[in-house]
């Protein structure tokens, strides 16, 4: 069987090629997820469509109260953006703690979202930002809230002819003082999250999103004044961690509880 590798250079070409191959046409951006999966024989794509050269998908732009990040923007660029660091601190922290410098140069935010892992570090912060995922296809564009986008590990609402174009971030008041992203991995760098917490503290409520402890990430809003017990109950209703070679489910659960308590009280 002949394998095809296409290097697209403009958005129109991308949409038409993706439209043509549909499910068979797999997008490769930084390749830091997909190449590993290919090496491990988990997938064997017939058609690889590289968007590495697609300038239209790269960059971070501010628009009034919003910021738009192109899906092809590297993690490194996000890490080094003062716009992100000052207004979307949890996303900055998430990216800062991802993988290693080499990986962050290659990997992209679109890839992290497209990979749709419950351990994907950019994802929980996006929930605090009421982010929208902008999808394009030959038929046009649509905008999906991040809370609707994921359907399970590796699963999203994206159609076979669609691509992620960009991510729109709202709530540009997430600063180092009122928000953050705590990642727990097996070591301080180059580690997949075992459990993670994105949080934002307001005068009226506190918002959380947890990584790696449920198949789908939820946005959790907690009012002030909950008792220890009530808090525990709330947390437990959102998490269904699993056992794997990295950690046990009991451990994952306890860590989330500890971290949330520490932030909440």
């Amino acid at each position: 069987m002949n394998k095809i590798f296409v290097n697209v250079e403009n958005l129109a070409d991308l949409l038409s090629i993706k439209g043509q191959y549909g499910k068979k046409g797999i997008i490769i951006s930084g390749g830091t997820d997909i190449v590993v999966r290919m090496k491990n024989n988990m997938i064997d794509p017939e058609v690889l469509i590289s968007i590495k050269k697609l300038a239209e998908l790269k960059g971070i732009v501010a628009r009034k109260t919003k910021v738009i990040i192109g899906a092809g923007t590297s993690l490194d660029e996000i890490e080094n953006s003062t716009l992100i660091k000052e207004n979307y601190y949890p996303l900055y922290q998430a990216v800062f703690n991802m993988a290693s410098p080499q990986l962050r140069n290659m990997g992209t935010i679109g890839g992290n979202i497209g990979n749709a892992s419950p351990a994907g570090d950019t994802i929980p912060p996006l929930f605090l930002m009421d982010a929208e995922i902008i999808l394009y296809s030959k038929k046009g564009k649509r905008s999906i809230s991040v809370t609707e986008f994921f359907k399970g590990p590796g699963k999203t609402v994206m159609r076979d002819d669609e691509i992620i174009h960009s991510i729109i971030l709202k709530n540009n008041y997430l600063t180092e003082k009122n928000s953050g992203y705590i990642k727990v991995g097996q070591r301080n760098a180059l580690a997949i999250s075992i459990a993670s917490v994105a949080y934002f503290k307001d005068k009226k409520y506190k918002r959380f999103a947890f990584g790696s402890v449920s198949p789908i990430i939820h946005l959790i809003e907690l009012k002030f004044g909950l008792s220890d017990e009530q808090l525990l109950k709330e947390i437990e209703s959102y998490i269904t961690p699993i056992d794997d070679v990295r950690a046990t489910k009991e451990y994952r659960k306890q860590v989330i509880i500890n971290l949330v308590k520490d932030i909440y009280f």
Binding site: V184, Q186, R187, N188, A189, L190, A191, I192, V245, R246, A247, T248, E250, Y251, Q254, V255, N258, L259, D262
Partner: protein, 764 residues
Amino acid sequence: MKKENIKSVGRSVKRIDAEEKARGTSLYVDDIKFPGMLYAGVFRSPIASGTIIKLDITKAKKVKGIVTILTYKDIPGKNLVPVVFNDQPLLVEKEIRYVGEPICLIAGESKEIIKKAISLIELTVKERKPVLSIKESLKSKKAVNPEYKDNILQYYPIERGKVDKIFKKAHLIIENEYETNYQEHAYLETQGMVALEEMNGIMTLYGSMQCPFYVQEGVATVLGTDYSKVSVKLMTTGGAFGGKEDVPSIIGEIAALLSKKTKRPIKFTLSREEDIETMSKRHPSYTKYRSAFDKDGKLVGVDIDYYLDGGAYSTLSPIVLWRGVIHAIGPYDCGNVRINGYAMATNKVPSGAYRGFGTPQIIFAAETQMDIAAEKLGLDPVKIREKNCFKKGSITSTGQVLKESIGILDTIKKGKKSFNYSERKKNTEKFNKKHKNLKRGVGVASLFYGVGLGARGGPLQKGSALVSLFKDGSVQFSVGTTEMGQGMYTVLSQITAESFGISFEKVHATRISTEKVSDSGPTVASRATFISGNAIKVAVKRLKKNLTEFMFKEKIINSMKNIEFKNNNVYKNGKKLMSFTELAMKAWLGRVKMIEASWYLPPETTYDIKDGQGDAYVTYSYVTNFVEVEIDLRTYRTQVIDLFSSEEFGNVINPQLAEGQIEGGNVQGIGYALFENTVLSKGKILTNSFSTYTIPTILDVGELHPVIVEKKFKEGPFGAKGMGEMPLMGIAPTIGNAIYNAIGTRLYKVPFTPVEVYEEIKDR
């Protein structure tokens, strides 16, 4: 004028391979290619225990690009991986004993083609219930291997003094059980070998290894050919840590068999996954440890049952166990000792050599016991070690009287001072009052280590060197031990230069090969500097004698007394005769013998196998570690803040390389203590990549502070002993003790992963 004091030893000269490593130009096995070269692959057992009913390779053979597939029937010599007891076949004949055991060997045009062929091999087996742990092995009625009764691959006792009596009247008895998991060597370069028949039909192997002579034996054995028809040459070796002591024989045998059969060069290199799943690793252990103390805190008795999980074949387990048993009580003089050491057979990949060689497991138990005792006796953990540690004239658990170069007390004292022990302890207490979720603690642990192979090394305790002088006054040498990244080429170049009194730059180390020197045993047991350094000194001495006799014969000197070789010159009675270069040229013109092959035998060691008594090792090196850690009670993670490893290993040949070894070993020790956790299911290793088997990165190890104590050892080359392994060996108990100091929780199982810490404290 240049100052005339050419010294090489004791200086941090630059590694001779620093530049090629930094530039990436070093040649590793995977960098070499020969015309017509094929690749090798292995079809392996998917189950841990069973009998082969049928093996069908017909479909696999038909894959385009497959050149040959071999089973045990195609081995022209013996189907054997020779190590100690010769119980391990290279290829399964009928009985399968572990997941990943080799069944067929495949040669093909590419690795992809081989992968395809492997997927087409059909294997029918009758599965048996496997024995998967030390405890199962102790209980199991079915033998993993019928050659070993009760699944005991090896047993070693030590019996000394009156153990039962002392336990009856002891002031304090501490009794605990300890467990440790596997540890991966995680050498950056996986196993690999290229084999081809070079001129005159000599089967030649280029490989990554710690003992070319083992590989030579293995290859000659499977090919059924003369040792002298097999030549093994060392490539740049990207780390080994014990993991390339015995298993490269397997790699070499496979490459050589396929090369012999196909008459083409064969490259066999392992992927990381295949390497982790099928190569040796540190033995898991289980220990029952009883210690008795008198009321002054003196260790008066120990009674230990020490079990190692050897895996399906004995490989190096007998020797690993022996070293573990000898070091089981630590660097302490204790008159009443009973140790029963067992290496148990299980249906798992054979465990083997790993930096520390059976000691880190038991040191973890011993030094945790010491800490518990200190607390119970109201003694400071440093004090109890000072009180009990070896002094001049102390007697080891094997009855060996220590006479010279005993640095343990110095390592404690210097380490304590550098670490700022008392102040730091106070500061952690202050810190802990201030922080709710973060807790800091300090820990200490001491150890000793027998340098070289020791009494059980038997015929392997020897070393040879080939040194040759050229007419331009430059020198080349080769030895039988290998460079694997530890810096041996550099250190031995320093020793050669110093022995000749010439500049380091004038000495050049050549590739290690079975063609140059005679079997010198393996490069293990922290022995290369000692053994090869002394072998070089013997050769240089002879060369200097040749030169001196020549000068006498030529009437350059009137007697052979008071001749000195130093500062690139030759002196008689303190007066310069000529430069070393001039002498070399004169000697060449005068047909002087300018090459010497030497032989060095270390001082005799003894050991009685019945009660474990004797002078087990020539000498010992010593370490005391101090660490400060911080535990996050929200995540149960432990972060090392500062680690001071205070070490005494005789005189230092190259301080910077020594510090490099200390830091590298410390990092591996931190990995062993906190991060590295092998997970298996039905005998199959699930953590087969660095994504799930986590070794620490530089962000995980805190600040490392090597502290070096020098204590001359007369028999050593320029006073050196050996030091490669100790930096790793005692890190786990040091950290465990610090965790206890921080949060009051004792950990009895290595590694102390966050999950393990959580399990221990959740019910408090």
